[in-house]
Amino acid sequence: MSGRASRFSLAFPGFALTPRRALWVFVVATPVLAAAALNTGNNALYLLLSLAMGAFVASGSLSRHTLRHLTARLAPPKEVFAGAPAPVVIEVRNSSPWLAATGVVCRLVGLPGEALIPAVPARGATTVSLTTAFPRRGRHQLPAVRIEVRLPLPFFVKAAVVRQAGEALVYPRRVLGPAPRWTTLGERELQGLGPVAMRGGEVQQLREFRPGDDRRDVHWKQTARQQRPIVMERRERRRPARFLVLDRELPRRDDATLLARFEDLVSEVATAAVDSLRRGEAVGLVLGGSVVPPGMGVAHARGLLERLALIEAVGPGDDPLPPLAATGAVYRLAGAR
């Protein structure tokens, strides 16, 4: 998850110098001072000129030292929606044995957000949080962190870009949309959804745990007694099964307008799902041919959002909806069918 600024100093990319006004003042003033010294032979002016150039070198070498010993590590947010403010935490570590880094600015490359760290002690670390926003849903590589220092003399903004390994999953954008459009699936379809959708009712029998079983049905006493996971199989119970159905099929996949509208649909579905779950309503999701049974809770919400974050549009006929779902209320682009 972390990278060291010094790696960049070896090959130099990632290290940037941005001139500031003080540099231009220095660039103009130094030749004037040099001309005055040359023209008069005044050694006091030569001293001043040498010291000014020495100060320039000192500023560069010390800021380079500071930058070389700084490491940034970005902790991505646990839950982030596209376009929404997302707090991220950056830990900046200073490995310099003797010099504290003062006035360090951290920015995210390609994303908004910047934060000032007043001081990072020598051989110490400081964390800072800043608010950013990811523009699009999906799996994004974590943004690189640009560390900037200006001291001791602000001729340049000296910066190192520290790349961050790892990715962040960005959920779809949340929008203010109309009330959700529900689809209810029939009994036949519900039977095919597996035991997770059928949770509830009286216990019919105990059996060994199988992949896909709801962990809440684990019978802990029997599990402890038999030293193997045992679950309770319950009698089927009809439950309200409400689904949000999203049609992934687009007439053309190379049309930017259609893709943008598809994004809007995904955002609307995600918003409806989250709102319903927050109201305590069980929600299922039909994305093309795949069906997520209705459920509740944080884990279920995360699962729905992950699927919606990663869903992609497909061409006509590539991923049709289940027959029954296709007849209900479907989130679909107008004119797609």
Partner: protein, 673 residues
Amino acid sequence: MKGSGAGGVSEARRAGSGWALERQRWLAGLALLLSLPLPLTGVVTWPVAGLFATVAVAVALSRRPLSPVPNWVENLLAPLVVVIVVMAGGLRFGILRPVAHLAVLVAAVRLPGSAQPARTASFAALLTLVGVAGIASSTHVTLIGYLPVVLSVVVMAVARLELLGMAGRLGAGRKADWPPPRLVVASVLIAMAVAAPLFALLPRLRSPFAAGVMTGGAVSGFRETVSLNNIRSIQVSRARALRVALEEADEPAGEWLRLAGATSQSYRGGLWAQGQLGRERLLPGAGGDLPLGDEPASPARLEVTLETPSDRIFLPPGAARVLLAERVPFWRDPQGSLGATRRLEAGFSYAVVFDPARVILPPPNQGDLEVPDDLDGLRSLAAGVTAGATNRTGAANLLEEHLRTAYDYTMKWPLDAPFSRDPVAWFLFEGKRGHCEFFASAMVMLLRSQDIPARLQTGYLGGEPDGAGGWVVRDANAHAWVVAWVDEAWRVFDPTPAVGRPAFSTAARLPPWRLTWLRVEEVWDRWVLTFSLADQLELLRRGWESAAATGRRLVVWFAGALAGAALVAAGVLAWRRRAAAAGGEGISDITARAVDRLRREALSRAWAGAGATPRELTREVARRCPPARASAEWLVATHEAVRYRGLPPPGKAEVRRQLRATLRSLAGVRGQG
């Protein structure tokens, strides 16, 4: 919410006001520090410097950020500033003095309100000008301590102001930190370490400049042409002129350290001029021996070394013989002045055998009795003074005594001798004050008015121990005196009052701390103040010679050092790479690196943008290169499984195999868009 928002705004305002106040205090403090040398060197008069200091202290002590002076007040003050600059001398004394006055006065007007961001830059430029003027006019050794102090305060101030600005922009009301003292100290130390060789290497195209007190104008060293109306402040310069060693005495007796550089006979309109008529050429003998007069009965001997380039050599009035290490042709004029036919560089040395009891000069002629016609009252004054004298020596003694007692010595500058009057006449009858050249010139004229042949001699008098058994003669030891023909011989008279005669201090009388300080000043004068192109060439020559002497051994050492440095650098590089690899990604990141490699490949072909998600990337790869589809999808799916489902990472070999398969497939479609 409303209440807390208003509270936040007012807190931010308070913080902003606090930052502005601190900025104002830093600027006022810097102004005080940078203007410190100006009154001490005399480039800015004390009243102006005092006014500036008062404004700076008032601004520094203010409890709120001050507003700028209104424009109409500035407009009103502008003529006053000009008047003060003119009253302080205007352009009469060179450019530095009026510029320094102007900068200080404008800075005083603009200091209030300088903390406003829009005005800080222009005020900083003014302060820079003030600081440069102060440093440029300083020749004292304390400059070497002043400069690091200034640099450390500037670094501290600039860093602090930068942090304040950053806290204002990004800190969200957070308190700004202070720059660490180590950063400031390290900055100063590195700057000085870099500055020292730079100072030695920066090219010198002109002779070293020593700034004169009061004007900041150049002190040019010894001048044989004495211009009374235009004398500069050479007598307060600490620049080294000569180094003198006595061969047979620890301390110079009486007149031993009176060294003449020129003897002048012709005086016209305030100027002692030297003509070139009648000059004879002298070539030293085979041993560098240059005889000037009869061998003295009880000779003394001096070793003299020039510390600044000159076309003159400086000799005691009784010099009988000069022993030169180098056979340089000389000329001698009818008045006895001795000069080289080429410029003698610093370091040129010679020995002089002389008679301390005599003055050896060509005998007098008619020119030694010439008196300008416009010196009215000269004869009556001289006659009145010498009324009681029975012979020429007595008359000369009376005139010397009269000038010493009835006239005041002053180095206060400028002397207000009007250009319309002859300076000697002005000195004798109106001003009655002046420096040594006035006294000596007046005595020459008074002696001549009484038919006593006399000449003006200029050179150096006195000196101070150099701590190594020798004596240092500085520009401040420049002096003028009189040689008069009395009792059938030339004799030295010095009409300048004792307070104006350069003295020589003796080592025996100096406390140890003073001797140490003298050595410090010695180093300062020798290696900083008068450091010149000749010194640079000398350093280069010495370096070259030592390199040549060391020769092969040096080459071996150099090669060894180079190889060692390369080994160390390679080791450090390897260690850093290993540390980076060890401290960076773990085994679980192998799939991330593989996907990253795939991303770079797609980016290089412009198949995907930098922000493409891995799935978008895979889709594009699959679309443009179907054979790579399976392996690319495996990579992405595996990566997602590891990253998001917490599954264990696959083996490195498998990931590499899939990556290689993908890249091999992609290589087949290189160049196809």
